[in-house]
């Protein structure tokens, strides 16, 4: 080692420790995405915990991930397929319904769990610091495992009805992601509001119910008049459900413009939600 290097080694300063600055909050704060990224291990454990707890002490366990869409499909097939004889875009009605119920079941569960995530784990809010956003995020991500399981059910249904899978199925992760964002966007709003107003807990089931009606789960989005389609696309789940049907049915309506509206709507709602969450999170431990 040269003397010069020695000299510089002697001069080298210890690695700068991160400095935590604590001051009274003022107005809107920037999103600290770096901190969030740094907490990916904790997110992993929270997701894992969510998955492990989900079906603890249930007799059927993870089978519920299959049973929920399956049973709803059976009911829908009888009521909407047989009795009401709704149009099913050229698909057998059970497959038509299942293609929508797979993402919908995920969405409904993830939305409810994300919305209640902070209140359900309030003992963590008052006892330890971590990026609060991890809680609704973990709820939405954990549900994706159920979604993947349910998706294989959809593939089995395709095989059962002799429908050849197309290359469009490769788009599934993208639509799954859109479903996750669609659940998370209202989820973070509701989670933050829930801390202050427990009314939210009662609003969520109602909201999910209404949302089901404005989403083409039981019916085809083809019944919505053409000129209202872009507006209909403001419901991101309409885009997700249409996307799932588009993947399996060659004759399903194209998902162009309304899907773009869905993506934009989610992006705006989610971004605004993240800022709102960030503003609210400082007082979580005070008001929860």
């Amino acid at each position: 080692m040269t003397p010069a290097a020695d000299y510089f080694r002697g001069m080298s300063r210890p690695v700068a420790a991160p400095v935590v600055r604590i001051r009274p909050p003022k107005g809107w704060a920037p999103l600290d995405l770096r901190e969030l990224a740094g907490a990916h291990e904790l997110l992993y454990f929270l997701v894992l915990r969510n998955l492990k707890l989900r079906y603890k002490q249930t007799a059927l366990g993870a089978a519920w991930a299959l049973l929920q869409p399956l049973l709803t499909m059976a009911v829908f097939t009888v009521v909407f397929g047989r009795l009401a004889r709704l149009d099913s875009e050229g698909l057998p009605y059970p497959v038509f319904a299942l293609a929508a119920l797979v993402p919908w079941t995920y969405f409904a569960t993830a939305l409810a769990q994300a919305g209640n995530s902070l209140v359900d784990q309030q003992q963590l809010l008052t006892k330890v610091y971590f990026p609060r956003l991890l809680l609704p995020l973990a709820a939405a991500i954990a549900g994706l495992v159920d979604l993947a399981i349910a998706f294989t059910l959809l593939l089995l249904a395709l095989a059962w009805y002799g429908i050849a899978p197309s290359a469009r199925l490769l788009a599934a992760p993208a639509f799954g992601l859109l479903a996750a964002a669609s659940a998370l966007a209202p989820g973070v709003w509701l989670a933050a509001l829930n801390v202050r107003y427990r009314d939210v807990r009662h609003v969520i089931p109602f909201l999910v119910q209404i949302w089901l009606f404005v989403t083409p789960v039981a019916y085809s989005s083809g019944i919505v008049p053409e000129r209202w389609r872009p507006l209909y696309g403001l419901n991101p789940m309409a885009g997700v459900v249409d996307g799932f049907r588009w993947m399996i049915a060659p004759s399903a309506p194209a998902v162009g413009p309304s899907l773009a509206v869905s993506v934009a709507a989610v992006a705006i709602l989610l971004t605004a939600g993240l800022y709102f969450f960030r503003r609210m999170e400082r007082s979580f431990a005070d008001v929860v």
Binding site: A17, V20, P24, V128, Y129, R198, S283
Partner: protein
């Protein structure tokens, strides 16, 4: 790097709105408030600080690298609020603070524990939420399990554990947390004495060995004195003394608002009583004789009681009893001289009596002491159900044993005779 402030706190304050701080609001309440707001402003003009209070005010402090700083004070003094602000759980209302380095806080035992998960799963979950990296947990996993001493129950759900095992596992995780700055709230208050000693020893190692900075809140003055070179005393949210621990602790003990102070005569002439009045307890005093407890009663310690009894006529007292009630009115102790068979002959005038309870089997808390004087024919001369409040404080035991507040009223020894 000595003399370098790792924690700097300047004029830190936290204000709460009473009623707002407690419990979640409903939307309806906020809407009603909103509707009423213009009216109220008119009605209450000039009424400042309506329903607000400062849980913490004007706290300025510097903690050097490697220093273990104790934070002491009575209930509601603002200790926990300070720790919560520094842990970034709540935001301050005014002032600022900076902390250099990774901060780990330990405000309860078993943060992140879930009763449905196994011991193994909980170690990972709790470790992660307390700020440990996955690799770090994996590296220390065996050490944590050995420290907790839970043996074959590692893969059993924690809900099947005894409470002692749960606490041990929770602390084992916490004890292996190694951030640069550690914030600890009253964690030594639970767990058995042996395990507490183990935790305390570990904390001592951690702070001495690696120059880690520790903020430590405790009601256990012995632990504070052992661990901390410096301490700060908070009262009503404000720091009233900072400096060498011994002096600050002495100041705290001197200021502690005891319901009645040991050693001093308590005038009982005004208290509620029944009886013939032929003999009456007019004054009382008590003390445990333990300076470390400032003469206060402590669990399993002795209690000496001095009484001044005033007799109106000559009479014989066959039963002289000391009673202790808890604040809910449950009679816990009725110690009666009748058991000894000794009687007390009183002539008119004042008499000094000294009684002694060799071992007071009560846990820390506030109790009501009363007296009972009865004659040979069981005629009651004087009955005072509630003479004064007696505080039993946590003792400075060599083992640092301090029972948790909810661990029952009465102390009881337990011996393990056969471990099969």
């Amino acid at each position: 790097m000595s003399g370098h402030a790792v924690i700097r706190i300047e004029h830190l304050g936290k204000q709460y709105q009473i009623g707002h701080a407690r419990g979640p609001r409903t939307l309806r309440e906020d809407l009603v408030d909103l509707a009423r707001a213009p009216l109220r402003r008119r009605n209450e003009r000039g009424a400042t600080d309506d329903g607000r209070f400062w849980a913490l005010r004007d706290v300025s402090l510097e903690v050097q690298r490697g220093e273990v700083m104790g934070i002491i004070g009575g209930n509601g003094a603002g200790k926990s609020t300070l720790l919560k602000i520094l842990s970034r759980i709540v935001a301050p209302t005014e002032g600022w603070a900076t902390i250099e380095g990774r901060v780990g806080s330990l405000l309860e035992a078993g943060t992140g524990f879930h009763s449905e998960l196994t011991g193994r799963e909980n170690v990972y979950m709790s470790g992660a939420i307390l700020g440990m990296r996955k690799a770090e947990i994996e590296r220390k996993f065996d050490e944590i399990v050995a420290f907790a001493d839970i043996g074959p129950f590692l893969d059993t759900p924690v809900k099947r554990y005894s409470s002692g095992m749960q606490v041990r596992l929770a602390f084992a995780v916490a004890a292996h947390l190694e951030p640069e700055v550690l914030i600890v709230d009253e964690v030594l208050a639970v767990g058995d004495a042996e395990f507490q000693r183990k935790c305390l020893g570990r904390m001592q190692d951690v702070s001495r060995g690696d120059g880690r900075t520790v903020l430590f809140v405790s009601h256990n003055m012995d632990a504070v004195q052992r661990l901390c070179a410096r301490a700060v005393l908070l009262e009503h949210g404000r720091p009233i003394a900072t400096g060498a621990t011994t002096g600050v602790v002495a100041q705290y003990l001197a200021r502690a608002e005891a319901p009645s102070s040991p050693g001093a005569w308590i005038d009982l002439s005004g208290v509620e009583r029944t009886g013939t009045g032929l003999a009456r307890v007019v004054r009382a005093r008590y003390g445990s004789g333990l300076d470390a407890a400032a003469g206060q009663a402590y669990p399993d310690g002795p209690l000496t009681i001095g009484l001044t009894i005033e007799a109106a006529t000559s009479c014989t007292i066959a039963s002289l009893a000391v009673t202790l009630y808890d604040l809910q009115g449950t009679k816990l102790v009725n110690a009666d001289t009748i058991a000894s068979g000794r009687t007390l002959r009183l002539e008119p005038g004042e008499h000094q009596i000294t009684l002694r309870i060799p071992e007071l089997h009560l846990n820390p808390g506030v109790y009501l002491m009363g007296f009972w004087l009865a004659g040979r024919l069981a005629e009651v001369h004087d009955f005072i159900p509630a003479g004064f409040e007696l505080e039993v404080v946590s003792r400075r035991a060599p083992g640092l044993g301090r029972a948790p507040a909810d661990d029952g009223l009465v102390t009881c020894r337990l011996e393990l005779l056969d471990a099969g």
